[in-house]
Amino acid sequence: MAKPQAPRNSFDGTAARRRCRRFRRRILEISQQVTALHVAPAFSCTEITDAIYHGLMRGTGHDVFLMSKGHGCMIQYVILEELGVLSREDLDRYCKPDGRLGAHPDCETPGVAASTGSLGHGLGLATGQAYAEKLKQTDVMIYCLLSDGEFQEGSTWEAMMMAANLELDNLVAFMDYNDFGGLERMTEGHKAFYPLVAKAEAFGWEAVEVDGHDGEAIFDAVTSRKGGGPLIVVCRTVKGKGVSYMENVPIWHYRSPNKDEYQQGLNELAVE
């Protein structure tokens, strides 16, 4: 059972790529048992979540990972399975009445920091959690992963404002900037939403944009931060990344692959 080691100075990109292919294959496997899952939203944040668990977090009981984009939870589940926090049976019983995992995270599940699913809640919770750790004078880090769509919620900007006001240098947010809402490309429908890094900076955050499928770049962005306040890593991603027919095709926000599609996906994600 792989366990994250603490704290690391470097991040092995080759090992990360191998892990991420494995995680995606496992998600595809589960998609053949139950159709109620968000495959593409999990594939867009696979490298981000992997870099957090395997690069940044010091153990699963010390720092906190909060999945604000709750519909991305499949990637968290398969990582928690790999870390031994969730069992194989837990994932095999995903969305079944005798199981405990649903299509959005539940705080009663081991390893899950908050119940999410409705967008625009996670960063507020993470801000409260980070502030509590400041009051308690601990060194706990709060890592919060949001979708780009969540930044259309006013509540996310209330949290952006407060986290900066409180100078929460123990809070790191990651934006899964895959550009797709449930309906269309946000860059086309919501032009005023951009630029993202400048907006975050204007709200008092340290902000950096990276390739969201490059775990090393994500790791480096966090470990080389200036500090003194909260950091946001805007991660450019591709929705459905890793399986060609899913990439940037909106229907895969919800859809599960059929048998042939599943096989093709597995082939594309085969071990190098």
């Binding site: 705080c107 409260g128 980070a130 509590a132």
Partner: protein
């Protein structure tokens, strides 16, 4: 009420470092000012941003603190409703939401500042407890309970200031979830909660002056409702009167009627509440209650005919 809450919180907060206050741009009353001066880090003003007020309080509770989210009653529940539901109730976190000026206390500010359906909304949420004390002494008991409880989220509805004392000399202490007799009679029982206790007490006096034997009860805990206590009231009185500063939908009155039906109680139930209408009147608190038919004289008049 507001000042007694502040005094009690200050005293508890000095002893328990987990207690924090998160306010949304409201000037804190009395001793909360002192709390802020002495413990500046445990007082957070999020500004005019109620969603982060509730979200942060939830996150702080998840990491072991005991936050009180404090602002005008309407803004504690209505604006950040989904944060109250998902962040606090779904996750069952020990956060106290303190709603100042419940009902139509803010009588000159218009309906945007009236919490006339807050009790129904808060009671509808799974895991939420709801308390509406009737006087400063009950506020103190409720605040102590909120600061030390392990149940989950609480909506604490407070009035504003200047409520008279009704309960400080009672032998029976405030007990969460248990209604409290302020006086005991045999014919009529008045059930009420919150600052409208003043009016209920006048009604009780007037009915007694007419020769009726009157019980007066503070149903300070609206959720969980003291079902056994209400059942006893129904069994022991011919007339049960519910007086509340709340709209009729989801009111205590409705719940007492439902309970009476289930119990096959033979008592007559008389409900006096705000109407299911916004209030378009400006004046004193009493003026607004009167605009919805809530006056001691009016209630006594109806009851004299029964």
């Amino acid at each position: 009420m507001r000042n007694r809450f502040a005094d009690t919180f200050y005293e508890l907060g000095k002893a328990d470092p987990r207690l924090c206050v998160v306010v949304a741009d409201i000037s804190p009353a009395g001793s909360i000012v002192r709390f802020r001066q002495e413990f500046p880090d445990r007082f957070v003003n999020v500004g005019v941003a109620e969603q982060i007020m509730i979200g942060m309080a939830a996150g702080m509770a998840q990491r072991g603190l005991r936050p009180f989210a404090y602002t005008i009653a309407t803004f504690t529940l209505y604006r950040p409703f989904e944060m109250v539901r998902d962040d606090l109730c779904y996750q069952n976190l020990p956060v106290t939401i303190v709603g100042i000026g419940g009902g139509v206390t803010y009588s000159t500010l218009g309906a945007t500042h009236h919490a006339q359906e807050d009790i129904a909304i808060a009671c509808a949420l799974p895991n939420m407890s709801v308390i509406a004390p009737c006087d400063p002494a009950e506020v103190e008991g409720a605040t102590r309970w909120c600061a030390t409880q392990e149940h989950g989220p609480v909506y604490l509805r407070l009035g504003k200031a200047g409520e008279p004392d009704f309960t400080s000399t009672l032998a029976e202490a405030f007990t969460f979830g248990k209604l409290r007799f302020l006086r005991r009679g045999r014919d009529v029982c008045i059930l009420t909660y919150g600052s409208i206790m003043k009016m209920a007490s006048e009604v009780a006096d007037d009915l007694q002056a007419q020769g009726r034997s009157v019980s007066l009860v503070s149903v300070h805990t609206l959720k969980p409702l003291d079902l056994a206590g209400v059942a006893e009231v129904l069994a022991a009185h011919r007339d049960v009167v519910v007086i509340e500063e709340m709209s009729p939908q989801g009111s205590l009155g409705m719940r007492v009627k439902a309970l009476a039906y289930e119990q096959r109680a033979s008592s007559r139930i008389h409900c006096f509440s705000l109407r299911d209408e916004f209030v378009h009147v400006y004046g004193t608190h009493e003026d607004l209650l009167a605009a919805h038919g809530l006056t001691a004289a009016g209630i006594v008049r109806v009851m004299s005919r029964s």
